[in-house]
């Protein structure tokens, strides 16, 4: 039974991945003419937007990923062990939980010519009574998108790196390196980072794949003409005559991501060889305290930018009158929240329905999988969970949409929920796997010799003792579901207006205060979930936590 459940979960998860790839490849090569007529590649190459959008995606995706890596390394070298590090570790999880679209909207409210930074500047610079015309957001160079991707993805890589620091004895490595005469920066570059990189490589590749193929942030922060490649493909897929071109582009995008990942792997060998040679030189380096302080200022600025973006959403959502160049609204109101319930309530309910379903089903299926794995009924398949995170969403979803159209399942609630489940399960399994695999089997044995059956052990022993990681995984599931834009858009056929869909489609054409309220509401859901994940375990199993605390 356990084996059957385990393999069912793997199949339900793996089959859509195969179907998604097939559903993109077949129309691309002309094997689904009834759905996608014509030569997709030829259509794609003949489109004047093709090369500019590819170049823009390469520029924004690679630059953003390099900057994410740079910011992460800079933070480790300049902030680890300082008070700033404590602040960062406190702020990162909630920032990570904020949906991409909401963060993008907050950033626009901050850095656009009529944004808060210019308004704040106008209080000290006289004559700035109109928004400057020197720049626009989104800009044609894609720099707003790059900035958005950096402030959204850097916390992801930084938290992944921070989680690994304990496994490589970073404090001891630094201590030994420094007593051998090496400067702190050299200790990081020669002792810690080479060990750390291999542990965060996969996270970096996930970020790379995301940055090269992101859609919602690119719609909000990226240029429109040409758009990024994935946004360009999205415009093609909705036109039946261009479906083959869209599919060909989606396959090209996946191939491009794999090519870039392959290139990075080759570069790694080169960098490791050079680093090995430099390591043997014995050069100790100098302690550059000024550089360290400069790095801290830069990191603090990026943190402030992220936090202020979120504050902007809240301020705009309670503003009645906020004329340029006032630094704050002249009139405040709660009407944006209260009197627009018809605008907010439906998307909220739609979002919550998907999210709650996904939380329950994903958590249950992740636990079922890990239990099967614990009894050796299924092999460890960690690589499987990473696949949808490494393949561009556009590639898989075009395929799913093609199949959904063929079997008339598009627009169905269950189709969309299934897609949410596929994109949520990897995070939940990978989070729970650590706790599940490290759980002391002595607890099971102690209960079993007392006569407890499997289910009693699971519900009375394992789950109460593992309630903290289970709650956190459930909160992550909710956050991931709330943020899903493309699966809901492509499979929902316009019938499911979640907050993510409403926010992206309304942006630019609707009052800023409404947009801010939608974005704030979308951000609040995962935050509430994370707060609940901290508090609920104590409420549900108070004795477990008392005994843990006293242990």
């Amino acid at each position: 039974m356990t084996r059957f459940i385990g393999y069912s979960i793997a199949c339900l998860f793996g089959l859509p991945l195969l179907v998604g790839l097939a559903g993109s490849i077949l129309p691309a090569v002309g094997l689904m003419p009834q759905l996608a007529p014509g030569n997709g590649l030829l259509q794609l190459f003949q489109d004047p937007r093709f090369w500019p959008s590819i170049l823009l995606s390469i520029k924004t995706g690679l630059t953003a990923t390099l900057l994410v890596l740079f910011v992460t390394v800079l933070t480790l070298v300049c902030a680890h062990g300082t008070r700033l590090w404590g602040w960062l570790m406190g702020f990162m999880p909630p920032l990570l939980a904020v949906p991409h679209a909401a963060m993008a909207v907050g950033l626009v409210f901050l850095i656009s010519p009529s944004g808060w930074l210019v308004r704040l500047t106008s209080t000290v610079v006289p004559g700035l009574d109109r928004p400057p015309t020197a720049w626009v957001v989104p800009d044609s160079g894609g720099w707003s998108l790059i900035l958005g991707l950096v402030i959204k993805e850097a916390p992801f890589l930084l938290l992944a790196a921070a989680a690994q620091l304990a496994t490589i004895n970073v404090d001891s490595s630094l201590k030994i390196g420094r007593t051998l005469g090496y400067s702190p920066a050299r200790c990081w570059s020669r002792l810690v980072l080479p060990q750390l990189y291999s542990r965060i490589r996969l996270t970096l590749f996930i970020i790379l794949a995301f940055n090269l193929s992101v859609v919602d942030m690119a719609v909000l922060l990226g240029p429109g003409n040409p758009p990024t490649f994935s946004v360009f493909l999205l415009s093609l897929v909705n036109d039946p005559g261009s479906r083959a071109a869209a599919s060909a582009g989606a396959v090209l995008l996946a191939a491009g991501v794999l090519l870039v990942i392959g290139t990075v792997l080759v570069l790694e060998v080169l960098v490791a060889w050079v680093a090995g040679r430099r390591r043997e030189s014995g050069h100790r380096g100098k302690a550059l305290n000024a550089f360290r302080r400069l790095g801290q200022v830069l990191i603090a600025s990026l943190l402030a930018l992220s936090v202020t973006s979120m504050v902007m959403l809240l301020v705009w959502s309670v503003a009645r009158r906020w004329r340029f160049p006032d630094a704050l609204p002249s009139q405040w109101t709660g009407d944006n929240w209260l009197s627009r319930s018809e605008l907010l309530l439906n998307p909220l309910l739609c979002t919550l329905t998907f999210a709650l379903f996904v939380v329950v089903v994903t958590t249950a299926s992740a636990i079922a999988w890990l239990e099967s794995e614990r009894f050796n009924k299924v092999p460890k398949l960690d690589w499987l969970w990473y696949i949808p995170l490494l393949i561009p969403q556009v590639t898989l979803l075009f395929g799913w949409q093609a199949l959904a159209l063929l079997i008339r399942a598009d627009g169905q609630w269950l189709t969309v929920a299934y897609a949410h489940w596929v994109y949520t399960l990897p995070y939940v399994v990978l989070i729970l796997a650590v706790a599940w695999r490290e759980f002391d089997p002595g607890w099971n044995n102690a209960a079993a010799v007392l006569g407890a059956c499997y289910w009693r052990i699971l519900f009375r022993i394992r789950l109460p003792l593992l309630i903290k990681p289970v709650s956190q995984a459930a909160a992550v599931a909710l956050a991931v579901s709330v943020a899903q834009y493309l699966p809901t858009l492509l499979l929902g056929a316009g019938r499911h207006q979640t907050l993510a869909i409403e926010l992206v489609t309304s942006f630019g054409g609707v009052d800023r205060r409404v947009i801010a309220t939608l974005a704030a509401l979308q951000s609040l859901l995962p935050l509430v979930a994370f707060i609940a994940a901290l508090g609920l375990p104590k409420l549900i199993f108070p004795t477990t936590h008392q005994s843990n605390a006293s242990a």
Binding site: L180, Y182, R190, E280
Partner: protein, 225 residues
């Protein structure tokens, strides 16, 4: 070589408990001072303070000298102290030879290679140069760790229970290797095992100094014969 001198050291925990008060001692080159005391008595904290890696929550007053140089306020990497801990901390992403070269200061590529080879030969692990730390035995790891420390040309050696993770038979061999290798350096050994202390060492029990001590314990080298 220069003497290692600690003068008037007071360490206090955040809750106000004193780990030591006005502790002073001086270790001449070639001498060994064994710092003993129960767990939590502050032995390792004293050693961390000397290296400059003391937890910032512990308040510390005192001075540390290497010969005529006051190194109290110098950054860790400029103190020229060799440190060996309970765990060997051989860097797992480097081979044995790379670990040793990491300790070396200066020299041409050929000179550095020659120094690594001669030190491995002297330690009886000549063939281990290209092995990775994970493939070495406990004793081999301990030797490589000590060699790496010594190749960095330290002016004093600080040992924080470096033998405690080794099995009984190996301990005697590694102890002997350590005392011979570090014969010209002032050495401070933190241990709670009396067997770790070489016969020529002086012992300072930390509990004797928790109340107060103003006397300077000068430890001079042992001259055989």
């Amino acid at each position: 070589m220069q003497a290692l001198k600690v003068s008037d050291l007071t360490l206090r925990l955040p809750d106000g408990t004193y780990l030591c008060k006005s502790l002073s001692f001086e270790i001449e080159p070639g001498a060994v001072l064994a710092l003993m005391g129960a767990s939590g008595s502050g032995k390792s904290s004293i050693l961390s303070w000397i290296t400059g890696t003391l937890d910032s929550r512990i308040s510390a007053h005192g001075q540390v000298w290497l010969g005529q140089n006051n190194i109290t306020d110098l950054p860790v990497e400029q103190r020229c102290l060799g440190l060996m801990l309970q765990q060997d901390y051989l860097f797992p992403h480097m081979s044995v030879a790379q670990n040793l070269k990491f300790g070396l200061r200066g020299g041409t590529r050929a000179q550095r290679q020659a120094m690594v080879e001669s030190s491995l030969t002297s330690a009886g692990i000549k063939d281990m140069a290209n092995r990775h730390p994970g493939t070495l035995s406990g004793g081999q790891r301990a030797r490589v760790s000590l060699l790496r420390t010594l190749l960095s040309n330290p002016h004093a050696l600080l040992l924080d229970e470096p033998f405690s993770r080794l099995d009984t038979q190996l301990r005697a061999t590694i102890r002997e290797f350590t005392w011979v290798s570090a014969a010209s350096l002032p050495t401070l050994l933190v241990t709670h095992d009396i067997d770790d202390i070489p016969s020529h060492a002086q012992t300072l029990s930390l509990s004797d100094h928790q109340a107060s001590s103003t006397a300077t314990n000068t430890v001079e080298p042992h001259h055989a014969g």
